[in-house]
Amino acid sequence: MDMRTPLGKVRGLGSAKSGTEHFWRVRTTSLALVPLLVFYVVFLIIYAGKPYAEVVGALANPFVATINGLTVIASIIHMRLGMEEIIQDYIHSEITKLVLLILNAFFSLAVGGLCLFAVLKIAFAG
């Protein structure tokens, strides 16, 4: 008889030994991104092509800045995990895979860091 719980059975499984963590994070970030991106698209519809002062003024609004920051965070986690899946699926050479996974992590964090800094700078310093 199997005494293990369903959760105990899946913990630590998969080629990355991280169980369902990857799957779960992709799904939670995707759920978060649905309302965030709807907001983002509406924001861009309103402010596309508008002059600098108006756009920066809107981006400096605390509510907009918060949504903006959350969108950046959810996006970079989601895109990093998604690209990880693509690399693991299609790249079979161990060394190339490793290099691409590291580049993926660096790229995502770099883009995320730059975006977050920009969002915060606009919010606090204009």
């Binding site: 649905v34 698209v41 519809i45 600098y52 756009v55 895109m79 693509i86």
Partner: protein
């Protein structure tokens, strides 16, 4: 001795399958995801320019406003909306619904139609507002 291995039937390979809507939307979901990955650079460029001052912002705005910029942004809008709608289909499957053949085929087609329609709608609104 006869060469038996040469006459054995092969198992069907990828190219003999008819390319059905669910297959097509599956790979399009991944391709749009990959495109959005690099498209993030556009958002980053826009945000950083806005944070860097009026001169940079106007330069990026000029680039995005050019014909090529507008085409790229139009494609980016479509990729985003298509991936978003495709993601909702995946969430539905994750919780155990919508696996019936007719329904999933219908939804795969609807995903494409809705993403194109929404993209056009967004851009029509943008052009009217502007």
């Amino acid at each position: 001795m006869a060469n038996v291995t040469n006459n054995r039937p092969l198992s069907p390979h990828l190219q003999i399958y008819k390319f059905i809507p669910t297959m097509a939307m599956s790979i399009v979901h991944r391709i749009t995801g990959g495109a959005l990955y690099f498209g993030t650079l556009l958002v980053a460029a826009w945000l950083i320019a806005a944070a860097s001052g009026e001169e940079y912002f106007n330069q990026v705005n000029w680039l995005f406003g050019s014909i090529i910029g507008q085409l790229v942004l139009f494609g980016y809008t479509w990729a985003l909306l298509h991936h978003l709608l495709g993601g909702l289909r995946h969430i539905m499957w994750d919780v155990g619904y919508g696996f019936e053949k007719e329904f999933s085929t219908m939804l795969a087609k609807a995903n494409l139609v809705a993403s194109i329609a929404l993209t056009v709608l967004v851009w029509v609104i943008v052009l009217i507002v502007r």
